[in-house]
Symmetry: C2
């Protein structure tokens, strides 16, 4: 078989099932190999940011990588922003990046670029295949790199001649990387810190510590010690809802976050680093933990959070039953024109059991998260890296990974426009995604940030750069143009009806909520 076929067969044997693709001429051999070798399903995206964001969402839900198929350095460039988010989410992703044939590179044809250079800043692992026989070996290595616990972005650059040259063969999968365990003395140090603490104490949780099994252990620790449970502001995937151990979420703005943490004397970090402000601001601190608090790093995001929390609970002789178990129930819905509050209440009330929420709703969606705390059990995914345009692609990946679960994308208008092409893939694959566009006609967060960085009385030129009006975006038209049925709502009753209807049907729907 040729190099492309050997690579695809290798990835299939490793366990890859999905390839989110936006190929070009230099990837045609890989397209042919996906065609002729059963077992990996290609899914077309009309823009590379959709492709890489979908791989991120898939990785978060499947805990194993999808492949992407990208067209040289520029195609990879288009996918970088969502690879940045994937890397911050510690999602497993394998990028397959076609490049010119090795002997063609020195001619500097128009599409020539430094593909490895483009990949570097947003990858945990980069490799350029050296031959058609090396290509499947590199593929097996890429899979292992992507599975570096809990997940990593592996980028494999594939010169076209290595893809089309015959005489290659599939490579054996590597042994899976082990999940690094936390040393016992670190567990004992955390236990001692909690036991000896006289003031307020907290577990600060992130990454895999936000899965239900790990939260159960955290809840046991809370029962034993009275520690509060707080999570990072932008978790990759959090299992929550009625019956699960509930966690408080750190506020976004630095000064609010610092105020939130200021009274803690002991903080144990599990699957997360001590939080810092998202941006720097003049005269405001970046570091958010109290300067004199005792900070104990129990587990980094690349260590076994579940094991560490279980060991800590045992070391504390924690009771079997966790504290902080969330009671079922959601707030009442206020009638009238839509706003952030009744939107949040409606979503919480209607959220189906075992739903997956992709949350890039930004300011207009802030109420939805707290209001859905007691909703039916569900997964909540957020914008991990701050590179907007993640929400719709991540919803695609989640729907592909979990075809039997309803996916709800809560999407702000400004960030939704970055990867609006995602709607087309939802339509083509008939993915079970309901998208709610929160249309406030503004990069609303930037109006807040403008004053926070010290700009007073902004003029019309500044404000024009933060406004999405003139013209107003018509998401119903955009969505229908890409094949996703859509409806616009302006009141609580209309949203309730539209969301009820969308959730009752399989397949993609879009609701434009005017806020």
């Amino acid at each position: 078989m040729n190099g492309a076929e050997a690579l695809i067969e290798t990835l299939r044997q490793c366990g890859v099932e999905i390839c989110f693709a936006n190929p070009g001429t230099s990837e045609m051999q890989l397209v042919a190999a996906l065609d002729s070798h059963t077992g990996i399903r290609p899914i077309l995206g009309l823009f590379e940011g959709v492709v890489t964001g979908a791989a991120d969402g898939y990785g978060r839900m499947a805990d194993k990588p999808a492949a992407t198929l990208l067209h040289l350095g520029p195609g990879l460039g288009n996918g970088l922003a969502n690879l940045h988010n994937a890397r911050r989410a510690a999602s497993p992703v394998i990028n397959l990046i076609g490049d010119h044939a090795t002997y063609h590179l020195h001619h500097d044809a128009p599409l020539t670029s430094d593909a490895a250079g483009v990949a570097g800043p947003m990858s945990d692992w980069v490799c350029t295949a050296r031959s058609s026989r090396d290509l499947p070996q590199a593929g097996a290595a890429a899979y292992a790199a992507a599975m570096h616990y809990p997940g990593a972005v592996a980028s494999l650059i594939i010169p076209a001649d290595h893809a089309w040259t015959e005489g290659s063969a599939a490579a054996a999968p590597h042994p899976m990387p082990v999940v690094p365990a936390v040393p016992v003395d670190i567990v004992m140090q955390a236990a001692d810190a909690l036991k000896s603490a006289t003031g307020a104490k907290a577990l600060f949780l992130g990454g895999r510590a936000l899965r239900a099994d790990a939260l159960h252990q955290a809840g046991r620790i809370a029962a034993a010690t009275g520690a509060r449970l707080i999570c990072e502001t932008f978790p990759a995937r959090m299992e929550r809802g009625a019956g699960r151990v509930a966690v408080e979420r750190l506020p976004y703005f630095g000064e609010q976050a610092a105020d939130y943490l200021k009274d803690f004397e002991t903080i144990i970090f599990v699957g997360a680093e001590p939080p810092v402000s998202f941006f720097a601001y003049p005269e405001k601190p970046s570091w958010l933990s109290p300067p004199d608090a005792q900070l104990v790093r129990l587990a980094s995001k690349r260590e076994d959070s579940l094991g560490a929390l279980t060991a800590l609970a045992e070391a504390l002789n924690a009771p079997a039953e966790p504290a902080l178990v969330q009671a079922p129930g959601t707030p009442p819905v206020m009638d009238g024109p839509l706003n952030a509050m009744n939107l949040g209440a409606i979503v919480a009330a209607l959220l189906p059991d075992n739903a997956i929420v992709s949350d890039e709703a930004a300011t207009a969606g802030l109420a939805t998260f707290p209001m859905s705390a007691g909703a039916a059990p569900h997964d909540w995914m957020t914008l991990t890296g701050g590179a907007i345009g993640q929400g719709l692609p991540v919803a695609i990946g989640a729907a592909v990974a979990c075809p039997d679960r309803k996916v709800l994308a809560l999407q702000a208008d400004g960030s939704g426009m970055y990867t609006c092409q995602a709607l087309w893939t939802m339509a083509r694959e008939q993915l079970d995604v309901t998208t709610i566009i929160l249309n406030n006609g503004s990069y609303a967060i930037l109006n807040i940030e403008l004053s926070r960085v010290g700009v007073q009385n902004p003029g019309p030129k500044a404000l024009s750069m933060l406004s999405l009006r003139d013209p107003v975006l018509d998401w119903v038209s955009i969505s229908q143009g890409m094949g996703v049925p859509a409806v616009r709502v302006t009141t609580a009753a209309e949203l309730t009806d539209a969301l009820t209807d969308a959730l009752a049907h399989k397949g993609p729907r879009l609701i434009e909520a005017i806020i």
Copy 2:
């Protein structure tokens, strides 16, 4: 003034008039500086590929840079593909890339990335400002770097604390870089080659050699020597039409291009390197010039093509009047359902005097270029770097640079989807751009390329990755959703009516042509 204000004032003094912007929190001081310092007009794009592509189009038409305003490494990443195209076009562009405050970087906040690393592969010049006082100095240097003849991509990374720190001052503009002249002995070598040639000879033209003044000199050389005039396949900007010296365009596919060139014994290169195939293919050569031809590099794209051609014409005692002057006239329009031929004829017949064409029409638009040879004089811009999604943004930039000229964007459907957000900016700025979407429901070029790389009998999985059907894209809906009036046409008569109407009005219009 603070660093941001000093930078903006410096760029204004250098001559920057436009800033295509997609800012975030780390760029708020720059937004404020654009607001308070008159003279630079900010234009919002809803995606960074729109921003950088618009700067490319502006640079091609204005021959000086616009600034872009981009949000850290991920925002820059979204703009990389069109920076790749801009660099291949040798367009002057200045990227202003906000980054975290210097003291915030080590905290590794979620949006932290290696911005300079992201910039490197697609920039000719990269600099990270070192202080608020250094920032305007770096801005002046960036302007000079962008003006490196005929144009270059300069990327300036701006730590937020340098932008907000007071005590800076505007920097003086640098002297403009000189245009490198071609040495006399090179001119004489080219003259001797043309005079002594017994077989077929050609001037192979690219870059600035495709402006009307340079083509006039090339036409004089043709008159003196009988040389044919051939241009690179993807010129950045070509001045053509009735009354101008006409140039043949090298075919796209390598074997056709090699066949086209095979009988030439002498080729003089002006503003272009010897052509190579766009991609490598198994068993096909990359190098397209005949192996035994005499190749003379008169001027690289970074040397003075006009001066070199003028000197060469004088050295040949060429007549004052050029040969190969294009007669006016366009082919008749065939009635009936739309196809590539009657679409080309309609566009040629209706093209307004002094129009600017942004051509990313790909396969369905191939006939339009030759059919418009004798149309009213106009500029023709193409996809220089092969990174699709350039056409609509470049049209924005051209319309901003030349508000009194009609811009016609000929846009394939597949590539148009990459940066469809460009339509919104056309609507907001009420740019005088008529877009024709050539909707064939396919990445048609890839169906051709699949067989050219040796894939026979592709199956349904392969073909699904090359098809834009299921669902069909409805560009009228997409366009209207972003505020640009749109109409769909399926016959020659309908296109004639729609295009006549669009060209008769100022402001953005979109025509979806079903091919």
